[in-house]
């Protein structure tokens, strides 16, 4: 009896662990189901660009004020123009580790795009509250110390913008 229980203990714990993680997995997948990743190849038309940019804005600055959303869109477009970054919107957005939300997949889970879409359009039309900034980060979150060596232009909402 005693021996029997001990034999069961390890497999039982394992089974419970695995079932938990399976459930967690299914729950997560269920959450993504109705959202299809956008894929922007070159050359992209204007509406495709708005969509991709809006998605990034929603994922990176969904809770920011409108101006902060335009600012994030403007940073992407400033990067497109810069020699330090790729020269297309999709190249900039999908650069490895460039944006937290692409790395953790949030960019494909965002759903409310109405505000971000207007912000993306304003950014594409040239509005740039960051005056050619190339970087932004949340000063309350841990970031690479390197980023603080850039020259800071301004802070909008929770984001610091820098050249």
């Amino acid at each position: 009896m005693h021996l029997y229980r001990r034999h069961l203990l390890l497999p039982a714990v394992l089974v419970i662990l695995l079932i938990c993680s399976a459930l967690w997995n299914f729950y997560n997948n269920g959450n993504h189901q109705n959202i299809v990743p956008t894929q922007a190849g070159a050359p992209v038309g204007t509406s495709d660009e708005i969509d991709l940019l809006a998605r990034l804005i929603a994922a990176e600055a969904g809770n920011e004020p409108y101006e902060g959303q335009v600012a994030v869109g403007a940073v992407v477009l400033n990067r497109v123009q810069s020699s330090l970054f790729p020269s297309t919107i999709s190249g900039v957005i999908y650069e490895p580790w460039a944006f937290e939300s692409v790395h953790n997949g949030l960019i494909w889970r965002v759903s409310d795009l109405s505000g971000p879409r207007r912000a993306a359009a304003d950014a594409l039309n040239g509005w740039d509250p960051t005056y050619e900034s190339l970087f932004f980060w949340n000063p309350n979150k841990p970031v690479s110390p390197w980023i603080w060596t850039r020259s800071i232009v301004t802070q909008i909402g929770n984001h610091v913008f820098a050249l």
Partner: protein, 460 residues
């Protein structure tokens, strides 16, 4: 009996769990292989393109025929651009190789600039050749460094897929690694870091292209006068917003901005309407309104396009811009966005540009962007007299195009240059193009294609 049943159920569950585990493991391996393949592809593309670019630049230097030289430079331009793109997609976590990136972009753009120069029939200066030799030597250094890294890649000291992974506590990680061994540790990328640090010390490069270093130090030419106080800026912002919306605004918050145009940035709240707010930037020097954005969503359009242009033009006049000509216009989210350019002595000054956004539901001015205007507007700008007549310039056009319209225009070109040109609105087949012929030299300086979009036009 129950014991037997429990045993069977638990064994089955265990079996299920194990197979699920193997299935997940297989998934993980295939994803990891795909990531590794992408990293390897980008790395070897980078290596190949760098090597090829270096060879092309060498051939250019060895060649004595301008035509062949232009060919080699064009090749170098493409290869360096390819290297730039590959580098940017390479998964190098926690290090930003901005100096290598800048070097590749500048090499590519500079080769393009020299190739264009040769194509125009101009000779290259000694200085320009010297600059290209410098680029070629740096490219050779980069290639050598990449070959050293290649050794690490081929003996698996560097595995691109190893940089991806979820952060988890060490004991869990050890167990996970026992289950699915990771090939290779996230190896050091010293080679890249060393090269990046070395390329940081390249001398500044000034030329007529978008990546010229002098552009990073541009100052707003259109701002004059002394600095104003925050209070005064606030008053200007409020007055501007009141006029734009025919309403009354209160200042909600203020921040300062230390960018290309140092400014006070205000957020204003409408006293009469709920949830309407406006962001306005006022330059510190001279207290000019640089930009404004009303964040309200606009309802169903009620105004027609002509009324909207009138509204924008009179708003510009009321704020001291008497000679502005509407150039492009596009409809977006029930707003009409109109781009105005300054006009002096019947010459369109494209660099001095102001964008005005008008709400199509009530004619409210919902946007204003004069950044470009204040960056480039210059009271002391000397516009030369054209040396060619319009008819002479017209003869420079391709005989295939049909000309609809002509006017004189000052146009901005890469590198912050402005040139006086005849602007020809033309048609080729069913596509419209704006062709710019230099009014002094007869050189074709630029071509823009006009693209029709819903509610307006864009140029590309």
């Amino acid at each position: 009996m129950t014991r037997k049943v429990t045993t069977i159920i638990l064994s089955l569950a265990l079996l299920l769990a194990i197979s699920w585990g193997f299935w997940e493991r297989a998934n993980r391996m295939s994803l990891s292989n795909a990531v590794e393949a992408a990293g390897q592809r980008d790395f070897y593309n980078l290596l190949n393109y760098t090597e090829q670019a270096q060879v092309s630049m060498g051939k250019f230097l060895a060649s004595n025929s301008p035509r062949q030289q232009a060919v080699h430079l064009t090749e170098a331009w493409n290869q360096a651009a390819g290297a730039h793109l590959s580098l940017s997609q390479l998964p190098t976590p926690d290090i930003r190789l901005i100096n290598i990136s800048k070097f590749l972009a500048q090499t590519s753009d500079y080769s393009n600039y020299l190739a264009r120069k040769l194509a125009r029939g101009d000779e290259l200066t000694k200085q320009e050749i010297k600059q290209l030799i410098r680029f070629r030597n740096e490219m050779e250094g980069l290639t050598k460094e990449l070959h050293k890294i290649e050794d690490q890649v081929s003996n698996k000291t560097i595995r691109w897929s190893s940089y991806y992974g979820t952060r988890m506590p060490q004991p869990l990680k050890t167990i996970a690694n026992l289950a699915v061994p990771v090939e290779g540790k996230p190896g050091p990328l010293d080679g890249f870091v060393r090269t990046d640090r070395h390329l940081k010390n390249l001398p500044t490069l000034n030329y007529d292209g978008p990546f010229s270093d002098h552009l990073e130090k541009r100052k707003p030419l259109g701002l004059t006068g002394s600095n104003i106080s925050q209070n005064e800026a606030g008053r200007k912002a409020t007055a501007f917003a009141n006029d734009a919306s025919n309403s009354n605004y209160n200042i909600n918050s203020t921040r300062t901005s230390n960018g290309r145009i140092p400014a006070f940035a205000f957020n204003l709240i409408d006293k009469n309407r709920a949830n309407v707010n406006v962001n306005i930037d006022v330059s510190k020097q001279g207290g000019q309104i640089i930009s404004m954005l009303n964040t309200r969503p606009v309802d169903v359009p009620k105004l027609d396009a002509n009324r909207v242009v009138e509204r924008a033009t009179s708003f510009l006049k009321a704020h001291g811009f008497d000679n502005m000509e509407p150039t492009y216009s596009i409809r977006q989210d029930n707003n009409q966005l109109i781009t105005f350019a300054a006009k002096e002595d019947n010459i369109i000054i494209y660099p001095d540009q102001i964008k005005v956004k008008v709400a199509l539901d009530n004619g409210e001015i919902t946007g204003w962007d004069a950044t470009q205007y204040y960056m480039s507007h210059n009271e002391n700008r000397k516009i030369p007299e054209p040396k060619l007549t319009m008819e002479e310039a017209r003869k420079k056009l391709s005989p295939q195009v049909k000309v609809d319209n002509t006017r004189l225009a000052l146009i901005p070109l890469p590198g912050g240059i402005e040139k006086l040109c005849y602007e020809f609105s033309t048609k080729f087949d069913d596509t419209r193009y704006l062709i710019y012929i230099n009014a002094l030299t007869g050189e074709e300086e630029d071509i823009l294609q006009i693209v029709d979009v819903p509610g307006g036009q864009l140029t590309m």
